[in-house]
Symmetry: C2
Subunit: 452 residues, 2 copies
């Protein structure tokens, strides 16, 4: 059997590896558009910060390791069309067209950056950041120009991580966000804390401003104009306002699209076209809590979905359990993240949503270096069901895995009250007899009982 996988990132590699793990006799070819297979693009900011010195180390696996698992990597093969009837996929490689037959096809084309409507966005010195090539190009530009200032357009997680990284590298860093607070994946009250942390580390954060035009001055620097009278001049700009699913290839096969224009794939990663699977940032994602497809492109999700696509491509029957939108990022010395629904999402979904916000010590305060962790917990007043949690706290405060305790509870449909029942570990350097997760749950229960 011949499996062709289009893509070289998380979903694609996971699909190929899983297929070979279960069926060692299957042939798996991966069409990789660039020269980088299985790179951790989430690691890009840490190369800019200097915490990662060798960009090659950003690979989850080396080419040799991937090939050792029996995957055939066809680099610089840009897939352009699928003939679903003949079961072939055509790619351009070295300027020549090449057609490959498949028994099963897995589409893992990922997403592409959204280009916002900004005059002069194609000017030299204005970059998007999505691929290893983007990274190297920006790095070269900074070095070649000895760039000293940068504008980040967009205060989502990539924008924030890049602002953190470039400021820590010593660049004069401005971050502009159109919304009232950065990190719109958490509620504004926590987004404010994130913005403050960036500011404390030298990032100039401006919210409520839309960048409107970018013009290149005679010295090659960029003059930026935005709403509310925003004006500045910087050496370069990085635009990170989100991504959209890359579906052009899938559409050549007649694959149906779904939420947000992403490929409609079911929980077995099957598309509307026979023998064509899809996974990762190019598809819509089943939301475990909402019980319907959403568009939540995340690396963790891509790995899970790719694994399912690979399993099912070789005759398996794996079913995706669904996403909770769990995510986390480092913001200077803090960490911010969430799982499940934030307050406004819960309300929009029609839940009788109650949200509380509290802060607690990450461990017993008598033990050195105790830090406050800010928690927002959202539950449904009517049923008592846990709907989501958002945390911001110090990078040493186990914030990511505390979110994961909420994620595990959410996965199992727990009520808020059940969080108090969890037998969590305790030692004074790491927690309290009631973990902050549980103290927040009890605060929510009290607020609900008070009729809030």
């Amino acid at each position: 059997m011949e499996i062709v996988v289009v893509g070289g990132s998380d979903a694609a590699i996971s699909a190929g590896l899983r297929a070979r793990e279960l069926e060692p006799n299957v042939r798996v070819k991966l069409l990789v558009a660039d020269r980088y297979a299985n790179f951790s693009i989430c690691g890009i900011p840490y190369w800019f910060s200097g915490e990662v010195t060798d960009w090659q180390s950003l690979a989850h696996r080396t080419t040799a390791e991937i090939e050792k698992e029996g995957l055939e990597l066809l680099f610089e093969h840009r897939a352009t069309s699928i003939d679903a009837e003949r079961k072939t996929v055509t790619a351009i490689a070295n300027g020549e067209s090449r057609t490959l037959p498949y028994d099963k096809l897995v589409i893992g084309t990922g997403a592409t950056p959204i280009a916002p409507r900004i005059g002069g966005i194609d000017s030299p010195g204005v970059f998007v950041l999505h691929t290893m090539d983007d990274m190297l190009e920006i790095g070269k530009y900074i070095d070649d120009r000895s760039a000293r200032s940068v504008l980040i357009v967009g205060g989502g997680y990539i924008g924030i991580e890049m602002a953190d990284a470039l400021a820590s590298r010593g660049l004069d860093t401005l971050l502009v966000e159109a919304a009232p607070t950065v990190l719109q994946t958490v509620d504004p009250a926590l987004g404010i804390i994130v913005g403050e942390e960036l500011a404390r580390h030298g990032v100039h954060v401006t919210c409520n401003v839309r960048v409107q035009t970018i013009t290149v001055a005679s010295d090659g620097r960029l003059a930026i104009h935005g709403s509310a009278g925003f004006e500045t001049v910087v050496d370069l700009a990085v635009v990170a306002v989100g991504v959209k699913p890359a579906t052009e290839l899938a559409q050549t096969a007649g694959v149906m699209l779904g939420v947000s224009g992403a490929i409609a794939a079911n929980r077995r990663m099957e598309t509307s076209v026979a023998d064509v699977y899809a996974a990762g940032d190019c598809i819509e994602t089943w939301h475990r809590l909402l019980e319907r497809p959403t568009y939540v492109p995340l690396g963790t999700t891509a790995h899970k979905q790719g694994r399912i696509a690979g399993e099912n491509a070789v005759g398996g029957n794996a079913v995706y359990a669904g996403s909770l939108g769990s995510q986390v990022l480092k913001v200077c010395d803090q960490v911010a993240g969430r799982t499940g629904l934030r307050e406004s999402e819960a309300i929009a979904e029609g839940y009788d949503a109650l949200t509380i916000q509290e802060s607690y010590w990450d461990h017993k305060v008598y033990y050195p270096h105790a830090q406050r962790v800010h928690l927002r917990l959202t539950g449904d007043r009517r049923t008592g069901r846990l709907l989501g949690a958002q945390l911001v706290g110090h990078r040493d405060s186990q914030v990511p895995k505390r979110i994961d305790v909420f994620a595990a509870a959410l996965h199992h449909g727990a009520t808020v009250a059940q969080l108090s029942d969890l037998d969590l570990t305790y030692a004074p350097p790491f927690s309290s007899p009631w973990d902050p997760v549980q103290m927040a749950a009890q605060a929510w229960e009290r607020a609900r009982a008070r009729g809030e």
Copy 2:
């Protein structure tokens, strides 16, 4: 209504606070045997290490804070008998007997240290460590004698924490454990790692040795003799070989005993005697996985059970969800812990237990300071059900909350395979796209598929 609570530690205070929270009109009196209410005895080792300088800060709450919540603290009231028919409890205070009536009684008498059969165990310079008074007495002894060497008898969590603390304070520290490895709450393969960590930090660890006699030399130092020719001379010895439930008071009321001679209390914390509740280290504890009572004295459990006793004493109907034996401790720069059943326990319980051990990076290795985390995962081959997990890793590796992710899954009766379905957070400084929790689950699944 008049509630009398016997005890001043976790279970007792939790019961009193919960009763007052739900019924502000109830009178709650606590009979506290010593002068220390609501102290975090788990914090004692950090006073010895010098990380906590003011022992008073070890209080979870000050006396004023407790009294502000409406609890009446009767210090140095040692309860001696209960008359269940007349509903009174008698205590000795200042050498005088005092009898108090109750409508509801909560027994939170805790546990007492086991005194092993060692000749000369009552010699001056040989201590147990369970109360604040014990702590202060040992501290004074070390100071008064300018003690430079100490023997710890017992390699359980108190022995290990004290060895860690006293070695870091500069004492020549010996730890002797009768079993082949320290920390018998984890499997030997991990216990070895814990022992090595202690040794790396200057603790002389001797396993497979039973201390047999302690004699006081003419200079007041202690000559220790043990099995296998063990001999040493030290300035003092701390015996920490476990605890037993303190049930003498309960027995005066005719309360039935259960597992390990602990007070038999049901999941509502009711004893066999009407209107008498019990909670914490003095009672047997419902095990969520085994679905039967066990004896697992832990502070987290005491807090939960006390809260339930307090709620039910004022007419509530709270039910204890059960313990998973979740626990964690700092061992020098490492952390060790577990939840659920360890391998030998699972086998003894008749499960078709399969255990795997793997080690993984705590986060992406390209990001600085990645550390290996050792995981042991036990599941039932037949049903695929998760039975337990044990972790040892660096103190910065989020080990406690990683155990808690397992604990949350165990709470909900998850299979091992379901761990891979969890939507856990990921960013390169904190994890991998598959968290070590999930990589271990997949390793277990592969081992099971291979027929191991």
